[in-house]
């Protein structure tokens, strides 16, 4: 199953499965009715069809009830989205720059990586940029996705709630190596993250060859091509 690693997972997945359940109910209702009618009123069993021109009561029923259910589903989706679109004020900011076909992550202290590191249980705001064509920053395990559009800065945010390594995909088709434009997000306990960031900051003046100074992590060169 898909990893569940951010603050949005519960709400998004609940909304998803509620709507799926409603959909399955209606699909079964339609399909079972069709199959039952086709068997029960097959020409062999029923040679005398009856004309029924319609029923206003039924039409109103199957307009009003689905409308109410649809409004409910809309509301669930909207409420979840509202949270997604508004990062808390004191979030840690990471600048994410997409280009054909790699990701670059830049932290407030100037450190740049091609793998995203984030601290556990802290709000992280990603500011999304693109240098060339449209891309889309997508972390399935967080249920977060937002397009990277040239000359614009889009914003997304999340709070990682499970230590681990998760996929970052480019979800907007961007040419030849679109499918190789993936990276990873590594969620570290806050102390480890701070150690890592401080270690990286020291090394930025030296060659950026990766970090072995923090036990819990090491950089995997995971650039697009």
């Amino acid at each position: 199953m898909i990893a569940q690693a951010s603050n949005f997972v519960n709400e998004t997945d609940t909304t998803f499965f509620i709507i799926v359940a409603v959909c399955v109910f209606f699909l079964l209702l339609i399909t079972i009715s069709m199959v039952v009618f086709v068997i029960k009123y097959s020409r062999k069993r029923n040679t005398k069809p009856v004309n029924i021109h319609g029923s206003t009561a039924l039409e109103i029923t199957w307009t009003v009830i689905p409308t109410m259910i649809a409004l409910g589903m809309f509301w669930l989706g909207w409420v979840g989205y509202k949270d997604l679109s508004r990062p808390p004020k004191d979030s840690m900011i990471v600048d994410v720059t997409a280009q054909m076909w790699r990701w670059n992550f830049k932290y407030a202290n100037g450190v740049q990586t091609d793998t995203l590191y984030v601290p556990l249980n802290k709000d992280v705001e990603v500011r999304l940029h693109s240098l060339d064509v449209d891309h889309s920053f997508y972390v399935p395990a967080f249920r977060v996705k937002k397009d990277c559009i040239p000359t614009r800065t889009n914003i997304a945010w999340f709070r990682a709630e499970e230590v681990g390594t998760y996929q970052v995909f480019c979800a907007e088709y961007c040419g030849l190596n679109h499918s190789y434009m993936y990276s990873a997000v590594k969620v570290l306990p806050e102390y480890d993250f701070n150690m890592w960031l401080a270690g990286k900051a020291q090394k930025t003046t030296v060659a950026n060859t990766g970090s072995g100074s923090v036990k819990t992590s090491h950089i995997v060169t995971n650039s697009g091509n």
């Binding site: 998803f16 005398k48 039924l58 809309f74 979840g80 997508y138 937002k146």
Partner: protein, 550 residues
């Protein structure tokens, strides 16, 4: 092919197939303004293109059988899915049912001798053919086949060195073909209905074409002008959409979807019209909720034109735009649901015969329900953020477009082709082909929903090994479905050459006007123009029998 069929008819009247005008051979077809011949011309072209599109789809599935390279490299793969989309959407399903069956049957069903503008009708076919030829040129000219996806998103479509200008010109021309067909049908329905054929005595297929015609006329010019602007941008370097020149790439997406979302209804609504014909015919009873089905087509045309930005929930729009477009998206589901409920209710107390057209129609309802309901899932904002641009949307688009427009065309072929050519296919083979196609369809496309939920991005040449099991199932499904479709095509094509002759007017027991004219129809459709006094699905004999029982 159809001219061969013409030779053997020796009816007392002159069929449209026998007609000898001033042109001979192929010219008797490609210079004919007879709506029936134009319908056949479209049918031959459309189905040929469908086979090309299907072959590309099969190659895409084959490439995705294993991670990494299976048969082709990424550039070829990207061209494959671009061409598959362009061909299937712009050349196959958008002209689709209106161009083939609308042309052939709309005038007959409303009691007219032809469409309102027969020459413009032929012009639409030529624009369509030229559009197709340009696509072929775009594939083979130096520069290479387009690789932008059928959505042509800017800035990529400005940057790519492939043959974009030819491709965009092709889609531009195909758009005009579509506008002219829509205009023709709207005018025909307004002006050429037979005496007594008032609006609510029209068959639901005509209602569907009427609603579709308005969508075509209103929204297609927008894609036309948009693609023209892209061409201007590429050729003259005028900054319109390209951010490097000071343009706005989001503007392109809005303009693109203002057309391309309603385009889904250009594909689906005529198919709904076909289903609304077939279900009463094979249930031998009047349709349930005629007016609700007719009005819901108009409601879909209206609401469907106002939901385009639900393709762009992850693009970074304002909260109020997200709110409104999500809300309208849920609302557009309602008229579709009304149709599904009414079709199902039409089966109730019918006398149902599961002939091939009916099988395809029932499959249509099932597949359209899955397509529509998965659309609802993505209408919910928070869920769509996760699902958009994954395989979930690819599954949804195939259930909606192929499951409705595709199966609608298959249903219409089995329903009307015998009437068109006066020969019938093998019933058993048709049923076998149906089941293979239907089962293969679901094995092919259903895994897309699971993969999408698990985060597999669309338009990906390569993928991580964890997704492979679903790709393998899907590819096996594609082999099954393609076998079924080839068997169906073989069966239909065989009927054109060696099928059993049919001369009876009413093959299936339908109540609409096309079943009152000889098979195949005479040149001017009617021996004498009908005077319509009853609605399209009255089935008077049912009421008489009921009274006798009492």
């Amino acid at each position: 092919m159809a001219s061969d069929a013409a030779a053997v008819h020796s009816n007392s009247y002159e069929t449209y197939l026998d007609y000898k005008g001033k042109h001979k051979g192929i010219f008797a077809w490609i210079l004919s303004t007879d709506h029936k011949r134009i319908g056949i011309l479209y049918m031959v072209a459309l189905l040929s293109w469908f086979l090309v599109g299907m072959a590309l789809g099969g190659l895409i599935r084959l490439e995705l059988l294993t991670p990494g390279r299976t048969i082709v490299g990424p550039q070829t793969y990207n061209a494959f899915f671009t061409l598959h989309g362009v061909i299937m959407l712009f050349i196959f399903v958008i002209p689709g049912i209106p161009a083939v069956f609308g042309n052939f049957f709309l005038p007959i069903m409303i009691g007219a001798e032809d469409v309102a503008f027969p020459r413009i009708n032929l012009l639409s076919w030529y624009l369509y053919i030229i559009g197709g030829i340009l696509i072929i040129l775009a594939i083979f000219l130096p520069g290479g086949a387009p690789d932008t996806g059928w959505t042509f998103y800017i800035p990529y479509s400005i940057r790519t060195s492939t043959n974009m200008i030819i491709t965009l010109t092709a889609v531009f021309l195909l758009g005009f073909s579509s506008i002219l067909t829509g205009l023709n049908f709207i005018t025909t329905i307004h002006r050429l209905r037979a005496p007594g054929m008032d609006w609510f005595k029209m068959p639901l297929f005509s209602w569907a074409l009427y609603a579709t015609g308005w969508i075509q006329v209103i929204v297609t010019p927008i894609i036309g002008i948009t693609l023209l602007l892209v061409i201007i941008e590429r050729v003259f370097g005028v900054g319109i959409f390209d951010p490097a020149l000071g343009g706005d790439p989001i503007l392109f997406q809005h303009l693109f979807w203002i057309y391309s979302h309603p385009a889904v209804y250009i594909m689906a609504v005529p198919a709904m019209g076909v289903i609304s014909e077939i279900i009463p015919t094979f249930s031998r009873r009047t349709i349930f909720g005629y007016k609700f089905i007719a009005y819901s087509s108009l409601a879909i045309a209206l609401f469907g034109s106002l939901v385009w930005a639900h393709h762009m929930f992850a693009v970074g729009m304002s909260d109020s735009a997200e709110f409104i477009f999500s809300l309208l998206t849920f609302m557009v589901a309602i008229p579709s649901a009304i149709k599904v409920f009414n079709w199902t209710a039409t089966l109730y107390k019918g006398s149902i015969q599961l002939d091939p057209p009916m099988l395809y129609s029932l499959a249509f309802i099932f597949l359209f329900s899955i397509g529509g309901l998965t659309g609802i899932i993505q209408g919910a904002l928070s869920v769509d953020i996760h699902l958009t641009d994954t395989y979930f949307i690819v599954g949804h688009i195939h259930y909606v477009v192929f499951g409705t427009a595709g199966f609608g065309i298959f249903a219409a072929l089995h329903y009307w082709l015998p009437k068109m050519i006066g020969k019938i296919y093998n019933m058993k083979t048709a049923k076998v082909a149906f089941w293979i196609t239907f089962i293969g369809f679901n094995i092919l496309y259903f895994p897309f929903f699971i993969m999408g939920w698990l985060g597999m991005p669309r338009r990906s040449y390569d993928y991580l090994p964890e997704y492979q099991v679903y790709h393998v199932i899907s590819t096996v499904g594609s082999w099954i479905m393609i076998s079924g479709i080839l068997l169906m095509f073989y069966n239909l094509l065989k009927s054109v050459y060696t099928g059993k002759r049919v001369t009876e007017r009413n093959l299936w027991g339908g109540e609409t006007l096309e079943w009152t004219v000889p098979t195949p129809p005479p040149l001017t459709n009617f021996e004498k123009l009908p005077d319509v006094t009853v609605g399209p699905y009255e089935y008077k004999q049912n009421d008489i029998e009921v009274e006798e029982v009492k």
